[in-house]
């Protein structure tokens, strides 16, 4: 047997190349690190997160968690993270709806619907987002009438330049009890599913499909029993109404939040529409024709045949659009919404802790993005074509 010269062994060469690459990378990182520390030392600066416990001393316009100016910087940054999360999550939900609807409309045989959708995608996809945000904020929302002359929509909802007020709900004293009934009802569904699974596996003849009715009957029974014990409703409508100079009650979207949300949703929606359209067109025509010949209606074909297959094509690029939306929310600073980027900028200006703040910002956006892609990847692996 001849011993093969190691430099001609492809596995060794591959490992060697990778090893060299890693060493170079580590050297570069080490060099940069030394350079930074040396430069900081020269300027008499120290890096550390000690300042995070100092009082922030600035106020934040809107926050979903309690915050005041005497709270520490770290609290202010958390407020920013939460504000970014809220606008991103609501934005992702709405933009999916907009994108799917417009994507389908793009394929409509109705001339008007088709052209309108095409115009929407064409305009929104081809103008910079920052300009659209400025347009929504300065051009639309701030042009709404003042509180006194608010536009009233059925609901009632009010449109003003101080915010958009929507009807909302309020919990009552019986809410905790009702929440328990609801949880019980949901648990019962799982219990039924479990029991039926066992019953099916043991039964010698298939169970009658009418057993499936228990999925409906038992939870309703639980809720009906609950209503007997606690007749008062768990929630009441919480409607906005004019009180003095401002509206009180209801759900208030600040002008900044509303403009940012509209901007992000419509901009990303245009991209998602194209992805959805591409996904649907990727499903072979034979599938549609086969569905039609089986007598399925238009809607059934779309829902049962086309969409499940299109999803496989749609999900991966859709994930990047979700990530884009979350990252684009950092443009909020231009229109005064206190997102993470805006608040981190203020903290950086007040403390001068550039490196620390940039690290915090990058890690926050990174973990937000990684979490989103993790969820989407799990979903993707579930919809993926199972190959044998």
């Amino acid at each position: 047997m001849k011993l093969k010269a190691f430099w001609r062994d492809i596995r060794f060469l591959q490992m060697l190349a990778q090893g060299i690459f890693v060493i170079l990378l580590a050297l570069a990182a080490g060099y940069l690190y030394v350079n930074v520390t040396a430069n900081l030392q020269r300027q008499g600066l120290t890096v550390g997160y000690g300042f995070m416990k100092n009082p922030a001393s600035f106020d934040i316009g809107e926050s979903y968690i309690p915050y005041q100016a005497s709270d520490p910087y770290q609290r202010a940054l958390i407020v920013g993270v939460v504000n970014t999360l809220v606008v991103s999550l609501v934005g992702i939900l709405l933009t999916t709806i907009v994108g799917v609807l417009v994507g389908i409309a793009r394929l409509s045989t109705n001339w008007l619907v088709n052209k309108l959708a095409a115009a929407y995608v064409g305009v929104l996809r081809n103008t910079p987002l920052i300009i659209q945000l400025m347009f929504w904020y300065f051009g639309v929302i701030l042009q709404l009438p003042s509180v006194k002359q608010a536009i009233e929509l059925p609901g009632p909802a009010f449109l003003t330049n101080r915010g958009i007020y929507l009807p909302w709900t309020e919990t009552t004293a019986t809410f905790p009890a009702w929440r328990m009934y609801l949880i019980l009802a949901i648990i019962s569904v799982f219990v039924i599913w479990f029991v039926l699974q066992i019953a099916r596996s043991r039964a010698s003849i298939p169970l009658s499909p009418s057993w499936n009715l228990s999925y409906l009957v038992i939870p309703v029974l639980i809720l009906w029993l609950g209503a007997e014990i606690q007749p008062a409703p768990p929630i009441t409508p919480y409607l906005p109404e004019l009180a003095g100079l401002n509206f009180k009650g209801g759900l208030r979207l600040t002008p900044e939040f509303a403009a940012l949300l509209f901007g992000l949703v419509l901009y990303t929606g245009a991209f998602i529409a194209e992805i959805v359209r591409a996904g649907i067109l990727a499903v072979s025509r034979g599938q549609v024709e086969a569905a039609r010949s089986l007598g399925l209606t238009n809607g059934q074909t779309l829902r049962l045949i086309v969409f499940p297959q299109a999803l496989r094509v749609i999900i991966p690029p859709l994930t990047s659009q979700y990530l884009n939306l979350a990252k684009n929310s950092s443009l909020a600073i231009a229109i005064g919404y206190p997102d993470l980027f805006s608040i981190a900028g203020t903290v950086f200006n007040q403390t001068g802790a550039a490196i620390e703040i940039i690290v915090v910002m990058m890690l926050s956006y990174l973990s937000l993005s990684l979490f989103t892609s993790l969820i989407m990847n799990i979903y993707n692996s579930r919809t993926r074509l199972v190959e044998r």
Binding site: L25, A28, A29, L32, Y33, V34, N35, V36, A38, N39, L40, Q41, R42, Q43, G44, S57, F58, D59, I60, G61, E62, A69, S70, Y137, F138, L142, Q143, S146, N161, R162, N246, P255, E256, I333, A334, I335, G336, P338, S342, G345, T346, F348, N349, Q350, A354, I355, I358, V359, M362, L363, L366, L370, S373, L374, N377
Partner: protein, 369 residues
């Protein structure tokens, strides 16, 4: 997925390090070598761009003053579409030119951004900075600057719509629950929070990165009030707002912002020349000497006037200037009050603290003797 996270993590670390290096700009290797040499020593002070006492001669040899100013702040430093410079700060540049060269136009203006202005002085790119810069401890010491006499006493103020507060003497408590527009990353933002907290008044800040955006949002009715330096509120307010008469600037002062010219530290001779030209303009106003009547004062018998205008004594030459430098300044540019009226009069910016000490203000020149 997990593999990717490592790569991402590594990328983050690298980008952070890169970002951190960016400001140093200069060739990196050279910098590191230098550290080794000075290790253990105290931080080196910013070296004076020109060795002590030479800047004045440099300027005189050059034949013009290089003056750092604001380029887009109407009333203080503004360059119009024809390239003509105007403004309160700009006229002080002209005054130095007049004192040195008997020519108010022997100035080269450099429009500087807020970030670049102090570096421009330190590096010697400009001889003097006259760009509504607040004199603060940090700038005077750590940035290695020498500030001159205060040319404008400013302070943070708050502007409100008249329909909400019509009385300018009202306190912050009149603004309970108000939305206040403010520019981010400024001391203004902190002062705002401090003042409202001290007064125990609730409010909602709406923070913009850009001053113009803040004014625009305020004008559209997004905010009840807007806060900034008083001079900015008055001048920008008239330049940007649709109807300035519907707004009122409250009298209360939220911070001290003394605006002064600055030169590089370590050149007393040049700093003295810059300072005494400004003092000369203030002194001239106190004596009632204007550009229109300055010639008639040449024959005055008042020794104070005669010394100031260089008719007798050698005050100017002691500074390294001509004896009649104040005469030149007043003749070609005007006294302090004239410069103020010419540039800020159109904005109806009351003299207030910027009145002469004889009128209850803070403008006070040391004696010319």
């Amino acid at each position: 997925m997990p593999k990717f996270s490592y790569v991402f993590g590594l990328l983050v670390v690298i980008s952070v390090l890169l970002a951190a290096c960016a400001p140093s700009g200069a060739p990196i290797t050279v910098e590191v070598t230098r550290i080794v040499e000075v290790a253990g020593e105290a931080p080196t002070p910013v070296p004076p761009p020109v060795a002590g006492g030479e800047r004045l001669q440099t300027v005189l040899d050059r034949g013009k003053v290089i003056c750092g100013v604001h380029g887009s702040f109407q009333g203080f430093g503004f360059v119009d579409s024809a390239g003509a410079w105007s403004g309160f700060d700009v006229d002080f540049c002209r005054a130095w030119a007049a004192a040195l060269f008997n020519d108010a136009e022997a100035v080269e203006f450099r429009g500087l951004s807020a970030q670049a202005r102090f570096t421009a002085v330190q590096s010697g790119e400009v001889d003097v900075l006259s760009r509504n810069s607040t004199w603060t401890w940090t700038r005077d010491t750590e940035l290695g600057l020498t500030f001159g006499p205060v040319t404008f006493y400013d302070g943070q103020a708050i502007m409100v719509k008249k329909e909400i507060v019509s009385d300018p003497t009202a306190g912050l408590d009149a603004l309970e629950g108000a939305n206040v527009c403010v520019q981010s990353g400024t001391t203004t933002e902190l002062n705002l929070a401090d003042q409202f907290r001290a007064a125990n008044v609730g409010y909602t800040p709406v923070v913009f990165e850009d001053q113009t955006a803040a004014f625009q949002a305020y004008d559209e009715g997004r905010c009840d009030a807007i806060t900034s330096d008083r001079s900015q509120l008055a001048t920008q307010g008239q330049a940007v707002l649709a109807n300035f008469a519907d707004h009122v600037i409250l009298d209360l002062v939220m911070s001290k912002e003394p605006l002064a010219p600055a030169v590089a530290q370590g050149d007393d001779k040049w700093a003295d020349a810059v300072h005494w030209v400004v003092y000369g303009m203030i002194q001239a106003e106190e004596l009632g000497i204007t550009s229109a009547n300055v010639d008639s004062f040449l024959s005055s018998q008042d020794p104070v006037v005669r010394r100031l205008l260089g008719v007798e004594g050698e005050l100017g030459s002691k500074l390294g200037l001509s004896n009649d430098f104040v005469y030149r300044v007043i003749k070609l540019v005007g006294n302090y009050g004239e410069v103020y009226e010419k540039n800020l009069g159109p904005f109806n910016l009351a003299r207030g603290q910027n009145a002469l000490w004889t009128d209850g203000g803070l403008m006070y020149a040391p004696p010319f003797r």
